[in-house]
Point group: D2
Chain length 435, copies 4
């Protein structure tokens, strides 16, 4: 036991009236909502990256945090693992997730880097024997090292593709061995800085090839988890190929991969792409692509990824509405790839972030369950589209009408369709009844 | 001959030294650039909508223009047609384009509306006997009338779908009869105002059905032109389904239509979607979807569609670079769906807009042709990706390598790929050498 | 009594458990919050413009609503006044507000326009004898008519300035006579479309002169209300001079008017200017400029003014925090210059909008009052800045230290200031405890 | 002489036909434009920060560059100074500029840090004996070190203010001693991350106090240069107090400092604030606040500061239009605080950036001079506002008319002002004639 959280007690559910800043007020893991334990709906995962590896830097300033494991190589990595699992225990969360470079320092060769990662992986395995926290997903960081500055899978240099492939192989296998339920790909450098030096058709083919190799290897080793792409429109690149859910879907279809890959959708990335979070969820769900969620929100006035902890229950209610409607996230979950503000130096700040975020998710979940139970939304939606369930509407959708048939009917009946209220104010008020 | 342009002379090419504001300084239609007449590259089309039907209104104020054909029903429509063809002659352009409601007033029934449209269509046909201006494309306005407030193809009411289908049938046939080379669909209301009243999966199916009907009818009547979708991310709707090229491509693939439909890409719509114009062209071209171009640019500080005439030669140079690289626009062209500023009241303003816009296109075309002739861009691009043309790179792309093969090679060779300069500053300077 | 709301009953407070969509669930006007009636805190005003004069049009389509008073001249204006006061009664609100052109049609001359406005003003006066609804503010519409296309006060033509001045005189006097508590100026066209035809220094002088004339006339007629400027960064213009609160403040200071004018701050305008709503309130309050509030929010993905009814209690809690901290809005209030969605055709939709909006304001008010009563926010803020209350901090602020003194102290004490946590996560959680 | 630029020759003017990528094609320092040497108009300055201290990192990845002076303490700083002056010579530029932390490593105490800075300052002084390059401005970096994470002047801790003051004293004095013509303050952390922990009124007072101390010390030591504030709306902070020129002006007025401080305006910061670059210049010039320019542009699709070298001649033409109209920048200049792209690893890339940027500035300057010499812009502007030069217009501006006078005139003359064309298309074409 380290003394990182010295003086702080594990976080428990105490109910809405609690004023204990380190207690859950809404997140009650065993509470049954819509027929399932709250924890089983949300499946929250603490992210190694922002929680343990980030240092408080930004483009205009360096490290502000002061963690005892910084600059200590593999010793630091072991201490970091200890604190990570203490954090999981303090927060009582069922999952965590990581990039390879979060958990162990890079070595002088890939062989050495992979060995470091594996060594920490063994520590994880050991800790998981006594901890209840499981691995939601693993991933390889293919964007921080300078070798990836021009892309990993989409690099103009096939050697970089090769190196990246070898790195993924290691993390995919480790994820599998640790019982991870998903493997995530975020293409942070798969895009371009300028079209002037970029062949986008070529890079698209490379990206598809890379993804195919990952799927084939997953199959080969018997990995049954989900393969997830996390869309983001830009940053660090000017343009990232996995722009948003619709773009990812088009890409997957083009290469025949749309049945094998789903999306890990981030609140803040949706916003940067010009969408609402619920939009990305609704689109993904309608395409069978909603696999998991990254709970980070964006500051609404900042044009870059700010990765805040969630704090808007209304936003999360709409999110859970789509998740519940599709029967849940399956093997996915909600990862808190959410980072502390640069001024949030204290260990307690790390707990506050997760506690507040989980409470907001719990409020959203309960609101969505109540919306669905109430049934008014579904009833109004069905009523609005009822015309397509029978008669002419159904015949049109079934392909039983041509343009000529339709034109002839307009003329015959002197059709004059009358608009009906969309009732947006009513529906927004209705949401607020549950949030 | 009306007296709309009284006192103004037809616009001619006078060369770069001319200070005549109503002369072309760069657009010299018969000048050969990259082996083809300039006009045959650009294929410019004056748009009926903004040029003759718009009134200078905006959300905070009404009509500012004062055209003699306003509020005069079919008499006005005939006068408008006269001025339109006088404009084409004044500008000496080879093409025009229109929506049905631009050219004739709506009647009390679709039958009457269509009759009005047909009557003006006959006037067009007659005028085209003596004018050299041809029809680039036609389209149906499925967004202005209140019946379409909740969508046309994606309306919850099948009767609205039906009405829209009948309207398209009329314009598609007229377009065909007038020798139009393209038919455009812009889904201005195909989207949503709030997800709370929207079934996006259902609406997607409706939209695909509608498009399929249009394609089938085009085939039936022997229309050999291109069917084009014009992407736009939003406005008037909060979200428009044809968000950008990548989204349209995913939609088309989903319904097996990607071989039959291309895109009409607008500068300003690209910008609203968070892209550069050249990005949308490059993406479309790489997907075989670059069919035509809408030359309207956006004000860079305005969050809505401003539809200015083009004025940035550098932007157009990059556009023509992709167009020339794919061998031109084929049956497509550049439509000036570009509108006068609200304060630009005078007939001469309408000419200034087109003259300046065409000159900018001509500068862009010549710069792009020079860039390609120079060859340095292509050479550098090929050099940058050369590793994929042979050896390991080629083997990877050909599917001859697995993750294991690649990992094994990294280890065997202790692969340490070294980054190489992306040379962005050099390339940007190089563009400026030609613009 | 018209039959506009036929079948609908007046809206009453029924409490949080009510499922009546036309009842207040949170807005209980007589409930005492922080020592004052809820109504006296919020001072809500129904806006004539969006509620009765707007027609559901947008840049891509015309009128969708179908009100019985449309296109009926002064008869329509009288009917509109009847429905307006019925609406005020249905909603039981204490205030309304209007532009001149909302209440009466423009005539062939200003004299006739003013006469029309006055005639409806008399009807208002009469209705106010039996209604409890009072006038929060009046204003002149100096942006819709084509004469104002190039600005009103900032028009290049002094005759337009003159016409605008005469129009304001009429509405200012009417506002005064009707007991209006504020007069608002929104400079919808006071800005530019292009710098190429604009002398901004000249226009700034004109704008200051206009404002000075208004203040002088207000004094002359004994108007004791607040003069308010409503900032907006753009739209309809590319740039609007009253960009945001800080810009308005700089302008007022430059012409010595900062003591006479405050701001009417709109949620959506703050967002368009790149700010949060609470930012604009905090800035205005710190400058003594927070006079009144316009409750319209923006759609977060739309780059133009959408003027939705408020629906985010968390946003309103932060707003009321600043309002309560400065002791309330005084003569100001919350106007609902909030418009129905274009598809919200039914009379009931108009009520839903206001009911939901008022409930959200009530939730925000109660949360803010609880935050202040709890005291933790203020305590933490005071603690954070405590160093400036005494010792060196106080001496610095009092001007008792020079750069040399300070440098000398750093050297003498080898000063090494240590950063302290900003506690953002803790504070955000704390807000959520009250919302 | 280091071997950093081994194999590369000094950059000379070779004229437009040159295809030498390391020659100036437009920037001909001694060419007379509008009566002055080109160099004396532009006064370009190479920035130490991005050119020599930046490492190619971004929020998602670390250092990509590999400069021989990295990680070598004061030895590295000396080598960096050598390469810096070699760069100035290679580029033949008249100015440079720096932050203290760019030129020398921070020590364990401020005393040591300042000593390091001073030591490099002495090297600069020595080099300037043989180099023709002079110091345009110096500044203190008050944002990178973790002590400044919550602001420097606006920190809640007076000790941080004190430390910052001592740091500025050192750099201000060094700037003075080196003959620097300006001292710049960029308040990178003077703003807030969340209003929840911020007293903006208090922080505004602190910021004014700090600025006053700087001015007083400048006076005391006899510094005759300009004191400049560089506005930026946000990043790294959520909100930066020096949002834009108008905001800075309001702040300065509030504390009576508007006569002593001007602005250093950056292209990219203008864009992030929702403005065009020419807008900020026009506003600043109209307020007497246009002191200097930071030439970095932003990527148009990136929501953060990208600090590219300028590449748009049209943008720079409008900039120089305002600069020439106010008689030049005086002691100010154009600093290239412009950074290499992260993939631009090679020493030559650093030269390409500056060469291309300077050529673009030269094109802009020449276009602006031609626009002014042509006179059409000024003539049209004067014509447009002519009504304010005499008669009623002049009387209004002179304060000789009241609202009553104006209203009376409207009635007496039945004033019906008629709108006139704003001629935007004509004017935009006219700009393109010169660019």
């Amino acid at each position: 036991m380290t003394d990182f959280y010295k003086g702080l007690s594990p976080v428990k559910f105490e109910g809405e009236q609690s004023t204990n800043a380190l207690a859950y007020r809404h997140y009650n893991k065993d509470e049954i909502v819509a027929g399932k334990r709250m924890e089983d709906h949300i499946r929250p995962a603490v992210a190694y990256w922002h929680s343990f590896a980030a240092e408080g830097g930004d483009p205009f300033g360096g490290r502000t945090f002061d963690r005892p494991w910084y600059d200590k190589g593999m010793d630091g990595a072991r201490m970091k693992a200890d604190v990570a699992f203490e954090t999981f225990d303090m927060l009582d969360v069922p999952f965590f997730c990581f990039h390879d470079v979060d958990i162990a320092p890079e070595g002088d060769s890939l062989a050495e880097s992979n060995k470091n990662v594996r060594e920490i992986g063994e520590i994880f395995a050991k800790k998981m024997e006594t901890s209840r926290t499981r691995l939601l997903w693993g991933t390889a960081n293919l964007f921080s090292n300078r070798r990836y500055m021009g892309g990993a899978a989409t690099n103009p240099d096939p050697d970089v593709f090769t190196y990246a492939a070898a790195q993924v192989k290691n993390v995919l296998e480790l994820t599998h061995e640790l019982g991870g339920e998903n493997y995530v790909l975020w293409g942070g450098r798969e895009g371009y800085e300028t079209l002037l030096n970029t062949k986008i058709g070529q890079e698209s083919d490379q990206m598809a090839r890379f993804l195919t190799l990952v799927i084939e290897h997953a199959d080969k080793i018997g990995f049954k988890g989900q393969i997830l792409i996390e869309p983001k429109p830009q940053e660090p690149t000017k343009h990232q190929y996995d722009y948003d859910v619709a773009t990812v879907y088009g890409f997957l279809q083009r290469y025949g991969l749309e049945k094998r890959v789903k999306c890990n959708i981030e609140v803040g990335h949706a916003f940067l792409a010009g969408h609402s979070f619920e939009h990305e969820l609704a689109v993904a769900s309608s395409l069978g692509m909603l696999g998991s969620v990254d709970a980070n929100r964006n500051d609404l006035q900042s044009g870059w990824d700010t990765d805040h902890f969630p704090n808007n229950p209304g936003e999360m209610a709409l999110a859970f509405y789509y998740i519940l409607k599709q029967g849940g996230l399956g093997k996915g979950g909600f990862n808190f790839d959410a980072k502390l503000r640069r001024q949030s130096l204290d260990p307690a700040d790390l707990l506050y972030g997760h506690v507040g975020g989980l409470d907001v998710l719990a409020r959203g979940l309960k609101a969505a369950a109540a919306m669905i139970e109430d049934g008014e939304f579904d009833r109004l939606l069905d009523e609005r589209y009822a015309g397509w369930q029978s008669g002419e509407g159904k015949a049109i959708l079934n392909g039983e009408r041509s343009l000529e048939n339709l034109a002839e009917r307009v003329e015959r009946e002197n059709l004059q369709p009358q608009p009906r209220s969309g009732r947006q104010e009513y529906l927004e008020n209705l949401v607020n009844r549950f949030v």
